[in-house]
């Protein structure tokens, strides 16, 4: 019941953020995995369901404008819950960047990572309240 990875990928298939809690993969394997999954997800029609099976993972994805948010989960995890989680994550990012766009995430990679870390740790959901997730990030941003 864990989230194995979080991927942010744009329409062109470029990875914008990757976060793995599954440490069994090497860099090359990850790259290959990303390419395969992205190819699968990007070709899907909008009406089709947001769940794709790939190898041993189930990938739940959602598309926001030009950016795809993907989460790889194991068979135990609740797909609908994860879908909700993705939305929660996007809203949190949106709140932080106010009008988050792909550029925000690209150029503020650290912050984005940090926000996601506040929400997901060890493959589990930690925090789903946007304000609570952003508080530590705010403080850190202020200091740096």
């Amino acid at each position: 019941m864990t989230i194995k990875f979080v991927l942010l990928v744009n329409k062109q298939g470029q990875t914008r953020l990757a976060k793995y809690t599954d440490s069994s993969l090497t860099t090359d394997e990850r790259r290959a995995l990303e390419a395969e999954i992205v190819r699968k997800c990007l070709t899907r029609a909008d009406k089709q369901c947001n769940i794709v099976e790939h190898r041993s993972y189930r990938v739940v994805y959602r598309r926001y404008a030009s950016l795809f948010f993907l989460m790889g989960i194991d068979a135990e995890e609740n797909e609908l819950g994860i879908s909700e989680m993705i939305h929660c994550m996007v809203e949190t990012l949106d709140k932080w960047f106010s009008n988050v766009c792909e550029l925000d995430i690209m150029f503020s990679l650290e912050t984005t990572h940090h926000i996601i870390d506040e929400m997901i740790a060890n493959g589990c959901i930690v925090e789903t309240n946007k304000a609570a997730a952003l508080t530590p990030v705010q403080l850190l941003e202020r200091i740096s």
Binding site: E79, G81, A131, L139, L140, R142
Partner: protein
């Protein structure tokens, strides 16, 4: 714009569903930097403003959060979604000193407005420069104004406070609007008339004329509903309304639609908001004129920031009159009225109360009381002002946040207007400025790369630079460098060289460094790396830090990457933090603990005791983490389940309070209270209830409540229902509950949303083992889902169908699946085919159905049928003696009907059947037709013709098919003497096939036909096959080894096995039909010898061009010809017709002992080609046996040998043996033909080996 303008737009809790959000997102997708969330589904981050200030603690932030969450009710699923709040915008000019008139007249009202409306407060610094100004002063007063407004009670958590110049859209829209504003409209403005008169019309700045347009822009940018205006501003608001209407008229409506605008009403026409009869405060010196900051005498006004003694002084010196007492409504006593008004305002009494209180006092007594009241009223404001303005950072943060909120709105409007006016929208959002420039440069460089190679170059260069930097141990940019490393890592390049740097960052004291360090640790390293050991100490320090966020970072990192050793070392810290006072740390520690447990299971006991303690927590996130920890513990140690069962009542209580507990804004998702926590609790209940009737009983009520009360209109609700159904089905629940769950699944299954259907299928697949009957009820729907457009759904459904099939329904389900197989798309076919094959194999009710179904699959999707399925079918046919006739009829039907489009697998299987049992097809031998079978009429000729067609089949797998066809033909030959000649001819036609295997078959079978009765025996039916032995014989053997073994082995059986091995290796399917054939010595030896020869020749001739050759039976040289030719580089000519032996010169090539070799030369198709007919004769008294001739030529030539007419030369020159050679000389005309021969034969049992060189070819050859 000295007072205000105001605005308010609906707070936009939208009712967009996620799907709609997606749809809107799609519209935005075109722009690269497009926003991810459509404006409608987001909420203005108002609460953040407050939370951002340093002085606000986490706890306060959490208090502020409810509004944020309420305002930002996610996903647009908001419960209070429909309520719109009107938007109000107020602007104030920056000024260091506000006076009582401003405060009582306007600001105090705004404080009330913010409760009721969505408010924006803007410090309009751009307006402050229409008249000459002092830059330093402007900067100061801008800040001071903002601080003053906050001090007066405007709450950054409720209203957005921002500075006009921080939102560039104001200036931009002003230009757009000023171009459509007639100058006459502006000239009419009274303010312009007055001020320009004062300064001289030619001297004033253009801004003084056009600033009303700027003001209009201020208002219109925010789609303001209401603007609070005083009388003096009325004209400006009218102008703004005119401009808005003109813009909408010129560019809005259909025109905007044509330009692709989302919002065709470009600008909202604002209304005036008449403030509730605000106090009109007059000058202290003159009761008839307004208290004004521009009045000359400072005594005429009370400034908000005046110290108490100054206030006392000013009140004391205020203008009075000579009447006694005080009264409100005497027109001759404006001063009395003014002071009473002030008094009334600051004390909050009504007019009557005021009159009763002070009406009888004289001026001298009243003034001190007024001064005291004023001081008391202003004092808290002044204190708050001091506080706010002393913390510049906090104020900046508030303004930044306000600007963000304003920018969002402003750009939404501006983009729309620009689009309507024909400007492209490439505005890609504001670029955040937090990143170091160099990382930004790197990203830009990478983005500019057009090819992967370019990108590699850039990254390699950067990596080299980084390495250098790390080597130089320069600490200043370490932080930035690690950030770059993370980026490079994300692109998929190696970054191991930077790992030490992250460790150094973690060890450093600075917070930003630590943070990047930990990020790097989590991203760049994984637990396998040994450097990780080095970080343990830093982690330990940080876990003991007094700063909660440092501890949080460390916990997060530990939770993500901790290894077994680290877990052991740091477990005590984690355990201690689990009991921390701080919920932020507790939640992180809980998740960290589950990681520690996974690594070191023997820590279980201590965590097992602590974990349930977290269930008492008040914070949702800690609860969630606690439940997750318990789940993990249960997964790690099944005995824990037993221990945790006692907490079932508590969990039920928690769950119940979540469903019934009403609205809690913090964790609400679309009206559903913390779905994430609910899901986790349900999951834990599942583990605890499984196998325990008591526990299941205890939770059944709450499960029923969840199942009935959860709103299934929302995704979050469905997530809970999904989890709940799984729990109900997994625990020992009573029937009624099960029915409820199955009904929910039924609803899910018929849902339109594909996600829901997906999880429904998923759940059914899990439930099928528990309650197969419930699932069978949905069989029809499930089968429909197999045909869905979405592959994920199809896969799930197929899985489920697979689980649903049993002996009882196999016929109907397989029929459904086969029907679908025809229409499904290519990607899905392999899976489906495979599943159908497996189902047929597993559940086939009888063999006839088995044969029918698999043949059907082969017809429909032959390309995807696995070899072993074909093999199994053949095996089944072989072993089912009574079905031979039926099988061959079915095969014939399948083949003759689908011959054109048939895949190799169908061709092979049916060809095999025809070859094996073809004779049953003709006449009455095949036995009666089975019930329901269509009659087949086939003649020998038709069957042979069909097989011939198979042999000529082209496309993938053609070679193997050809082998099968040849074998089938060969097998039929002895059974059908009438067609034998035709078959021989057909088989012989492939003697020159470029495919070695096909050629081998052709030559072998041709030979076999010559052996009469033996041949017939060899080609008889295959006897029933033992399955296990058959499987063992399929073990792959290496081709060349087999060949080598065959050459030395005398055992026919071994040869056969080896040959089969070779077949299996080279042709896959090819092995099957021959596999069971009884050993046929002549054929086998020949065939294996051919292989051996091919090998040997390949070995020898490749090395020495034209040199040595090994002895080989002459007969095989035919087979050798092709490989030989191949070796010498000639294009293999498929079955060349032997050219007519034109009379040409004759050459005595060799003469020794009894053997004479003569070459008859003739010209080939080109001058470079020579055809040689070698004639061998034996003049001796004894026959020459096993005659073989091999020839080699220099490398400019190529040589092709055909088979000799015989391998034995009769004695006394009584019969000549001939063999054809074809030579191609690439250097014809420059180099003469030359050839080396190697001849072997045996004479009276004695092997003879001769070599000779042939030259002296006549000129011209």
């Amino acid at each position: 714009m000295s007072t205000c303008s105001g605005c308010g737009v609906a707070q936009m809790q939208s009712t967009l569903t996620a799907a709609a959000a997606r749809a809107v997102g799609r519209q935005l997708a075109g722009a690269w930097g497009g926003r991810l969330l459509p404006a409608a589904s987001r909420a203005r981050p108002a609460a953040l403003t407050g939370a951002r200030s340093v002085s606000v603690s986490a706890a306060q932030a959490a208090e502020a959060a409810p509004e944020a969450a309420a305002a930002a009710a996610p996903g647009g699923d908001g419960a209070a979604a429909t309520q719109r709040r009107q938007r109000v915008l107020s602007g104030v000019q920056p000024t260091g000193s506000l006076h009582l008139g401003n405060y009582l007249g306007a600001i105090r009202n705004w404080v009330k407005l913010q409760e009721e409306y969505d408010t924006f407060f803007c410090v309009v610094d751009l307006h402050a420069i229409t008249l000459p100004h002092e830059p330093k002063e402007l900067l100061h007063s801008t800040h001071a104004s903002a601080a003053l407004y906050i001090a007066c009670g405007i709450d950054p958590a409720k209203a957005s406070i921002f500075v006009q110049s921080h939102v560039p859209a104001h200036a931009e829209l002003t230009w757009l609007l000023s171009c459509i504003t007639p100058i006459g409209w502006l000239r009419k403005m009274i303010q312009f008339k007055e001020k320009s008169k004062k300064a001289g019309a030619e001297e004033v700045g253009t801004g003084l004329l056009t600033y009303p347009v700027l003001m209009a822009a201020d208002i219109l940018l925010y789609q303001t509903d209401l603007v609070p205006v005083g009388e003096d501003q009325r004209q400006h608001l009218e102008l703004a309304r005119d401009i808005a209407e003109r813009t909408n008229y010129l560019y809005g409506g259909k025109k905007a639609k044509k330009m692709g605008c989302k919002n065709t009403r470009l600008l909202k026409v604002p209304e005036a908001l008449i403030p509730p009869a605000g106090a009109r405060v007059m000058s202290l010196q003159d009761g008839t004129s307004k208290m004004s900051k521009s009045a000359e005498s400072d005594l005429s006004r009370v400034n908000l920031l005046d110290p108490p003694d100054v206030i006392v002084q000013k009140v004391k010196r205020a203008k009075t009159d000579t009447f006694d007492g005080l009264e409100w409504d005497n027109p001759e006593r404006p001063e009395a009225r003014n002071l009473l008004t002030i008094y009334q305002c600051v004390t909050g009494m009504t007019k009557e109360e005021v009159l009763a209180d002070v009406g009888s006092l004289r001026w001298g007594d009243f003034k001190p009381r007024l001064a005291d009241a004023l001081v008391a009223h202003l004092q808290p404001i002044q204190a708050r002002y001091a506080e706010v303005s002393s913390d510049e950072g906090a104020l900046d943060a508030i303004l930044a946040q306000g600007a963000d909120a304003a920018n969002e709105q402003a750009y939404a409007t501006l983009d729309n207007v620009k689009m309507a006016m024909g400007f492209g929208t490439v505005h890609g959002g504001r670029r955040p400025s937090r990143m170091t420039l160099r990382l930004r440069d790197l990203i830009k460089q990478v983005r500019q790369c057009k090819t992967a190679a370019e990108e590699r170059d850039v990254v390699a260069k950067e990596s080299a630079a980084l390495r250098q930097a790390f080597k130089e141990q320069d600490g200043t940019y370490r932080h930035r460098n690690v950030a770059k490393l993370m980026y490079i890592h994300m692109l998929g390049y190696p970054t191991h060289f930077g790992q030490m740097e992250t460790l150094k960052l973690i060890a450093s004291q600075g917070f930003p460094e630590k943070r990047v360090g930990y990020l790097g640790l989590m991203i760049l390293l994984d637990e396998r790396q040994e450097v990780l050991m080095l970080v343990t100490n830093s982690l330990k320090n940080d876990l003991n830090s007094r700063n909660q966020y440092t501890v949080g970072l460390a916990l997060c990192a530990l939770g993500n990457i901790c290894s077994a050793e680290m877990a052991r070392d740091l477990a005590p810290e984690v355990e201690r933090l689990l009991a921390s006072q701080n919920p932020y740390l507790r939640k992180k520690a809980a998740l960290c603990a589950s990681r520690v447990l996974r690594k070191v299971p023997d820590m279980l006991e201590s965590f097992m005791e602590r974990a349930p303690g977290l269930l008492e927590d008040r914070s949702h996130s800690v609860l969630l983490a606690g439940v997750t920890l318990m789940l993990d513990i249960c997964a790690q140690a099944p005995p824990a389940v037993e221990a945790f069962r006692m907490h079932v009542p508590l969990l039920c209580k928690l769950l119940r309070s979540l469903i019934m507990g009403g609205f809690t804004p913090d964790y609400d998702v679309g009206g559903i209270n913390d779905p994430f926590l609910q899901v986790a609790i349900l999951r834990l209940l599942r583990l605890l209830g499984r196998g325990s009737a008591d526990a299941s009983d205890a939770m059944s009520d709450v499960l029923a409540q969840v199942a009935t009360n959860t709103d299934s209109a929302r995704n979050a609700g469905n997530a809970i229902l999904y989890e709940c159904v799984q729990t109900i089905m997994a625990v020992e629940s009573i029937g009624g509950l099960r029915v409820l769950a199955v009904n929910i699944l039924g609803r899910f299954l018929s849902n339109k949303d594909n996600n829901i259907r997906y999880v429904a299928l998923n759940t059914l697949a899990r439930v099928v083992s528990v309650d197969a009957a419930a699932v069978q009820r949905h069989r029809a729907t499930v089968v429909e889902c197999v045909k869905d457009a979405d592959i994920s759904i199809r896969r799930r459904a197929l899985e489920l169908v697979y689980a649903l099939v049993n002996e009882g329904n196999i016929r109907t389900l397989t029929k459904e699946l086969l029907d679908y197989l025809d229409v499904c798309d290519a990607e899905f076919k392999p899976d489906l085919t495979n599943k159908v094959c497996l189902l047929v194999q597993r559940y086939a009710p009888d063999k006839r159905w088995y044969i029918d179904s698999l043949l059907q699959v082969l017809v429909q999707a032959g390309a995807h049928v696995k070899d072993d399925a074909c093999r199994a079918l053949i095996l089944l046919v072989v072993n089912a003696a009574q079905l031979h006739g039926y099988a061959v009829r079915a095969a014939y039907r399948a083949l003759s009907q689908h011959q054109e489009a048939a895949q190799p697998s169908l061709l092979m299987v049916s060809t095999w059947c025809l070859g094996e049992y073809g004779e049953l097809l003709v006449g009455a031998e095949g036995g009666k037709l089975l019930e329901g079978e269509a009659p087949v009429s086939a003649s020998e000729a038709e069957v042979v013709g069909l097989l011939d067609a198979v042999a000529q089949h082209t496309g993938p797998g053609a070679a193997v098919c050809r082998e099968y066809a040849l074998t089938a033909l060969a097998k039929l030959a002895p059974k059908w003497p009438g067609s034998a000649d035709r078959i021989r001819a057909l088989v012989a036609a492939y003697r020159h096939s470029p495919q070695l295997e096909v050629q081998t078959r052709s030559v072998e079978y041709s030979r076999l036909f010559a052996h009469g009765p033996i041949g017939a025996q060899v080609l008889d039916h295959i006897p029933p096959v033992e399955e296990t032995a058959y499987d063992a014989s399929l073990e792959p053997t290496e081709g060349s080894a087999a060949g080598a073994a065959a050459s030395s082995s005398a055992s026919a059986a071994a040869d056969l096995a080896a040959l089969l091995g070779l077949d299996a290796g080279m042709a896959g399917m090819g092995a099957a039909p021959v596999a069971g054939a009884p050993a046929a010595p002549p054929a086998a030896t020949q065939a294996s010898a051919v292989s051996a020869l091919a090998d040997l020749l390949a070995g020898d001739l490749l090395g020495g061009s034209g040199g040595s050759a090994v002895p080989a039976p002459a007969a095989q040289s035919a087979a050798a010809a092709d490989p030989l030719a191949g070796l010498f580089g000639a294009p293999a000519a498929p079955a060349p017709a032997a050219p007519a032996a034109a009379a040409g010169p004759t050459l005595a090539a060799f003469q020794k002992g009894p053997l004479t070799v003569t070459f008859q030369l003739s010209r080939g198709p080109t001058p470079a080609d020579t055809d040689i007919l070698a004639v061998y004769s034996n003049s001796g008294g004894a026959p020459l046996e096993a005659f073989a001739l091999q020839a080699a030529v220099p490398k400019q030539m190529t040589l092709r040998l055909e088979a000799a007419s015989s391998v034995a030369l009769p004695p006394h020159s009584s019969g000549a043996v001939t063999q054809r050679l074809h030579v191609h000389n690439a250097l014809h005309g420059q180099k003469a033909l030359v050839m080396r021969l190697r001849i072997s034969y045996s004479l009276e049992g004695q092997a003879v080996l001769e070599q000779a060189e042939v030259d002296g070819f006549p000129a011209g050859y």
